[in-house]
Symmetry: C3
Subunit: 312 residues, 3 copies
């Protein structure tokens, strides 16, 4: 693995999950690995879990950590090839990526989708720009189209709560007042396709995810039917992909309730809008895995950083 | 002590002050205590002294430090119970507090009073929310109604400058162009009530602090009378408590001058408005303890963190 | 050396350059020097290279690092003597500088020119204020009129690429859409005056730098003539000094091209506007030293911090 940009960079999901679970029991066992090495975390967008968990993971590996809020602490970046830079952008990604590579051994980047221009979002100019021009490994801390550290944390959480070889896992859309990116849902789908599971995606019509990613996946527009017999219900809002970035529905009939959940475990990447995405009773109840998922963000990041450090 | 939320969490003021003074002589003597442990500092408001001194205290205990400006780096928090989160807030304090608890061993929080809604400020929703839902110790780095790290630093400074068993200590209001919170004054009063001192509070009428806190304290509306024979004059502006958050006076007759100060030592928590709160000659003179107070912020934080670490 | 405020604080340029080059080969050789010591980096303006390279240099010396974006995390500072602080500023530089001195062993400061009021910019109120009132060494991370860490990194880069005893070095102005400060150009000139070189400055009429700094330097208004036989071309935009802060020309005839460059090496401090300052072919070609210059920022900072630490 050269970079960790998408779920497909995971060399063996079951092995990585097992290693992460072992690491969780003894988080400082590879403390020497990052000694005298530095990771730089670059945030183009807000973050709570990703910021703290990636930092924590790095510290547990003995790495020095440098954090920048690129948007307001650095310079506006240019991504175009051959641009005459006489407008608002001050620095080209080519220089930025090369320069950061001189100061750090690994760079991790968060840059959300703008949800206005589908083609631009899918080009992943920030993270792809860094991957192209940096001379060090690049880690995706949520890009326009993927959130592979979250998906790996979710795989760890599924494994820790395993009750049968082939569980039924449902990815359900739920309502939200604002337009949200597809990154978390995309990476969850990609990760589930590496698992042996009865995997069902449910959402209102018009909310189909990128068909390239869901190819061969079971899609069920009737949420109740989809949830029948579920072992895990992963809930997430996303905006329309076909009518790009639009909020087509805020239908609270899709809100997850205790009744709908049945005996299943509840999963969400957080932050979560209470009583929109899911009712209080579920989050405050024993079937919620959301805090465990958040904790596992440390170990998904740590396993990725460990793999990268071993290759440097 | 489970958390350090108010001055009343100090188990023994004289013991803690003595320990802090000892620590100041050898700040790294407990460097091993925080090893492989992490403190997270969450700022909902600006800070200079608190940010640097708490960080420094943590580093001297060997703690790893993670810092977040929650306002612009994280998500807008919801505090209401049962809220349907279809408006501006993205994450509930319940999740935020639980999640931070998975990444850190101690969390310290700064969240000022809004000075608009007295009941809301007194409910201390941010720090109380964290204390309720976090599973780790919470430290108050200035909340709506208290600044107990400052008060403890002030107690250390009083002790270091002790000239008699029962000094006369005056807390004097002074003018300021903007409405300021009551937190520093409140905690100073609470701390003084644990001391053997001739303690007098002086301010214009209408500036009475929360009567629950000043119960039994001597209040003198004539500043000159109050200052007579003072050994220490602690100066601070605050807005009206009864006419909540209002600036009722900017009367510069209340500005502290060399003449008014007499032989007393001058104290202020900083930042201080020169020639409004106090004239230049006092701050630039030998009776000012403000820099010593600021330095003691390191040791008040360090003694608190040490106590908390010993209990983890 | 008490502080590192300007290029003239360099005690011996050739010695420091040699030491920095040695340090680059073994960056952690003085890791013990900063142990239990702290540097505080205060940013009043944006930064990428300076922020990361200074932090990296400090970590390689074993220093603990505290970083503050003073503008939005701290308090608005007052610099005036005797001011009645009843307006927008909350804290006087006198207190701020003294207080930071209690928490750190070295303080480094970035505060750009405003380019509106020449006299104010030349008074260097921020960095001079800190130098006057701090009780610890102050490092200039780019002030109104100088960027001595950049100039030292440039000297290291010149030395590493040395081809003859007395190279021809040209400092050329180039066009930019916005008004930029003179700091980088000023410090480069000061540094070149300590070198044995055929040094030429070229720019359109009206772009003369502060004559006090360029006194005795060769100034050539014909860029082509200036570039003839150059070994190193250092390119930089700056606004007018005589018509202070104004953009008098955006003439792209001054843009550096491969043809103009000839066999010379290309230097720029970054960030650089592609196809305004210099065409893509130069930056993407083998004669560009910009990434090496950026890397050398670590070692210019590290040699300065090492010298200061040895004196503490």
């Amino acid at each position: 693995m050269k970079h960790y940009l998408t779920v497909s960079d995971i060399e063996s999901l079951p092995d990585w999950v097992d290693e992460a679970i072992a690491l969780k029991k003894d988080p400082y066992q590879f403390e020497g690995l990052g000694k005298r090495k530095t990771i730089c975390l670059l945030f183009f967008n807000n973050s709570l879990r990703t910021r703290l968990s990636t930092q924590k993971a790095a510290m547990q590996l003995g790495l020095d950590v440098m954090i920048m809020n690129f948007g307001n602490e650095g310079w506006a970046l240019e991504y175009g090839d051959g641009t005459i830079m006489d407008q608002g952008t001050s620095e080209h990604i080519k220089e930025a990526a090369q320069v950061v590579s001189e100061y750090a051994d690994i760079v991790a980047i968060r840059a959300f989708a703008g949800l206005v221009d589908k083609e631009k979002d899918e080009s992943e100019e920030v993270i792809t720009g860094f991957a192209n021009y940096a001379t060090i490994p690049v880690v995706n801390m949520e890009s326009s189209v993927g959130h592979p550290l979250q998906a790996l944390a979710d795989a760890i959480t599924l494994k820790e709560n395993e009750i049968k070889i082939r569980p039924k896992v449902v990815l359900s859309w739920a309502p939200h007042p604002k337009a949200l990116p597809h990154a978390v849902a995309n990476s969850f789908v990609e990760m589930m396709r590496m698992q042996d599971a009865d995997f069902v995606i449910t959402h209102p019509k018009g909310y189909e995810l990128n068909p390239r990613l869901t190819q061969g996946c079971q899609i069920e527009y009737d949420q109740n039917k989809a949830l029948e017999g579920a072992d895990f219900v992963y809930v997430k809002n996303w905006s329309s992909y076909s009518d790009y970035g639009k909020v087509l529905s805020k239908d609270t009939d899709w809100t997850i309730t205790e009744k709908k959940l049945g005996h299943a475990k509840f999963m969400h990447c957080l932050p979560v809008r209470r009583n929109m995405i899911v009712e209080d009773a579920v989050l405050d109840g024993k079937q919620s895995l959301v805090v465990q998922q958040a904790k596992n963000r440390v170990f998904s990041a740590q396993i990725v950083l460990k793999k990268l450090l071993e290759n440097i």
